[in-house]
Each structure stands twice: as C-alpha cells, then as structure tokens.
Amino acid sequence: MNNTNTEIIAISGLIKKYGSKEVLRVDKLNVRRGSITGIIGPSGAGKTTFLRILNLLDTPTKGELCYFGRPVPSAPEAKLTLQRRMMMVFQKPALFDMSVSDNVAFGMRARGFSARETEERSQSVLKKVGLESQGRQRAKTLSGGEAQRVALARALVLEPEILLLDEPTANLDPANVELLESMITFLNSEYKTTVLIVTHNLFQARRLSTELLFLYQGRLVEEGTAHRIFQSPRHEETRSFIEGRMIY
C-alpha cells in the first residue's frame, strides 16, 4: 500500500502488549481511502485486537496511529468526534433490547440528528437489508442472520468514512452472506467508505478485498494488493495459509 495523499489511516511502530506478552506488532502500514482491506490470519493472530485498536476501543502500548493525516487526539471530546467517523461491526451482534428500528436509529440519535432525518435514513437502510417489515419487532427475537443484518444496518445508516468488520458473516447462511457482502460493496462504491474486514473465509477475502493483510502470531507478515498476495505471496507463512497447509 503506497504512502500517498489518499491514505486514511497511517500506522507506525504499533505494539500491543497484555502484561509482558506482545500480542500485536505492526511496524508500518498505510490504508488507502476507499479501499477494502481484507485481514486474514489464523486464530489468535491479533486480527480482532488490531480492529479494536483501529476503532479506539483499545489503546496501543506503543506506536503512532494517524487518521486523516492527524494523530489520535488525547482530549476525550476530540477522540469521540474521530470515533464517530468510523464504525465497527462485531462478530457477535450486540443488539439493544429495543425495536429493530430503534437499534438502527441509535447511532444517529446519539449524534443528534433530527428525528425526521433519523427516521428517513433508518427506513431506507432497513429496506436495503431486507428488514423494512420488521422495524417494530423486538431485536432480541431476530434470527442470527437477521441480527447481523441489523448490526450492519446500524453501521450503514451512519455512513461512516471507515467501516471495521470483525468476521461479520461468520455462522451465516449463504443467502445472508451474499446480502451482507453486497451491502459492503455498495457502501464502498457509493460512499467511498474505507472498509477493513477480518475474515476466516479466503474466498470472501478474494471476492471483496482490494488490499490484503496477513497477520501471524501477532505480526503483520505481509501486505499488498489482494490480487498479488493470492497470486504470488512473498512469505512462506502467507503461502502456507492461503493454500490451506498451515496447521494452527
């Protein structure tokens, strides 16, 4: 990933430790605006930790993170403002015990959007994820696939500049996977949203990603265009992983 003026996230010397154990190290990385970056690697490689740090949910032990050309501010208000420019969807959707519509509208209300705009945008997004008829239903009664669609809708309605997805299609049936993937590509093409997606599904990484990161044992081993990495990985670990030979 070239360091150009289109970079939206710039990372240098990032280290995360739990106690004395180093769980993540990313020496240098730039994420291009409007890209879809797949993050692959075996379990325990640090993928979720990486996304959590990017979403400012966890603080790195060392290193510098820059968004939109500026380092992460230390003042809580400025940090909240930055956090509101991105959104993370978790593997297990934590829906609030309220209606589907209220779940989708939650982020907009938190940001102080008008009731009318909140209603309009929520309904529009619910329609896109095929849940327009279930707006009044209690979110807790939804199936796993529907719940994940609501979680994605909750993110989409905010039109974030950066969308962080942590295995959003794990445990979903093929129809729901296809729907979610189409939503991700729609958001990326329509709003130029920068997407970082953690996935264990290499086919999905190949289908969606323009760029690819391979994490292994807490280290960023390889990065580059998805096409190049799938065609000719430079590192043996990467090759072993994408050819399904890595035992972990």
Binding site: L80, Q83, R84, M88, F90, A94, D97, G107, A110, R154
Partner: protein
C-alpha cells in the same frame, strides 16, 4: 399457623388505626431508604460494573464486605452520628423515622451497588464496545447499560428492599420502637414475641410478607417492562 393466618386477616379487617400506622411507617421508611439508596447506588454500581475488573478489585471487595454489614453495626454508626455529642447531633434526628431511613440507607447502598455491578458486568462487555463504537457519549453509555441491565438492577433493588424491610437491629437502635412514632413491623414483632404473643407476632409477619409480595409484583411489572414475556 392457620390460626396465625386467620388472625392476620382479622387484624387487617379490623382497620385498627395503630396497626395501619405501623404498616404505613414500615413501608414509608424502607421505601424511602431504597429510593435514596438507588439514586446513588444504581449509577455507582453501573459505573463499577463497567470498569475493568482488575482496576476496581479492592473497591469491589470492600463493597462485598459492606453488603454483609450487620444491621446493629449500621445502626450503631448512625446512632453515634446522631447522638447529642455526634457530628449530626444538632439536627435532633435520633429516635425519628429520618434516623431509621438513614440507618437503612447505610445498609442498603452496598447491596444495590454490589448487585448492580454484578448485573452490569454480566451484560456490559459487548454492549459497551458497541456503544463506544456507535459514538455514544458517557451519559448515553451509562443510561443504555443501565437500561440493558434493568432485570439485574431490579434484582438489586428487590434485595435491597428485602434487607431494609426485614431488618430490626438498626431501626430498633436509632428509632427506639416508640409506639405511634417509630414502631415498624419488625420491631412490633420483636415486642410481641417478648410479650409471649407468638400468634400475634406471626400474624404481623404474614401481613408483612403479603404486602411485600404486592410491592414486589408491581415493582417487577414496572421495571421489567414485560421483557420476560
């Protein structure tokens, strides 16, 4: 037992002014104590439950210890504060319902904080991450986590009310069991037992439980919002 139940019913139907005064004071004192304790205990417990466990381990241990504070010790603390030579002696609150409320607040606050923290900790992990990712500010995070944990918080309030309405040592010490002024159900029961009126004491106990049941039922409906239905 059947005799005690029939006596309880006839006592209630007698519309005895003294009895109804005791019932009213009992639920006024304990209800006020729980409301006051909840106003500080629920937000404090929510905050505690949202903190990383290692960061608040000593505070949590202290709260758990205070959950078992013996009522007589709680009563003694308030007694010393309110006695003529105490810090708050000038207020002249000793042997008044206000002193009884203060003593019960002291006993109930740790229970509400501790159980609310447990309820919130069980819920808050993923919800907290989602709220932060959605860009909620601290106030909205606190309110939403409280809303999501409301069944557990209801449990904390019920436990707190149970502790308040059933305790006798603290209210006896700071209230003095003065007839028509600070006598509540539990102190009245102790008095009747001391007088040897076991059936009458049992009847008072049955009335206490029956009214508590009605209060808990409406409490449950109000706070659960039908979430379990």
């Amino acid at each position: 037992m059947l005799y005690a139940i029939s006596q309880a019913v006839s006592l209630l139907l007698s519309f005895d002014r003294g009895l109804y005064q005791v019932i009213f004071l009992t639920f006024f004192v304990s209800g006020s104590a729980v409301i006051l304790a909840a106003l500080s205990g629920v937000p404090a417990g929510t905050w505690l439950g949202m903190q990383p466990a290692p960061k608040v381990r000593w505070l949590t241990r202290l709260i758990y210890t205070l959950m078992g504070l013996p009522p007589v010790v709680g009563g003694l603390i308030i007694y010393m504060l309110l006695s003529r030579k105490g810090v708050l002696g000038l207020l002249g609150l000793l042997f008044t319902p206000a002193a009884m409320i203060m003593a019960q607040v002291l006993l109930v606050v740790p229970i509400i904080i501790g159980l609310t923290a447990v309820a919130v900790r069980g819920k808050s992990g993923e919800i907290l991450d989602t709220l932060r990712s959605l860009g909620a500010d601290r106030r909205l995070i606190l309110l939403t986590v409280m809303r999501e944990s409301r069944i557990g918080i209801l449990g904390a309030l019920v436990a707190g009310f149970g502790r308040a309405v059933a305790e006798v040592g603290a209210v006896m010490m700071v209230g003095g069991n003065i007839e028509g002024h600070t006598r509540v159900m539990t102190t009245a029961i102790v008095l009747e037992v001391n007088k040897g009126n076991f059936a009458f004491a049992m009847a008072l106990g049955i009335i206490l439980l029956a009214i508590s049941f009605l209060i808990y039922s409406s409490f449950y409906r109000l706070l659960s919002g039908g979430a379990d239905e």
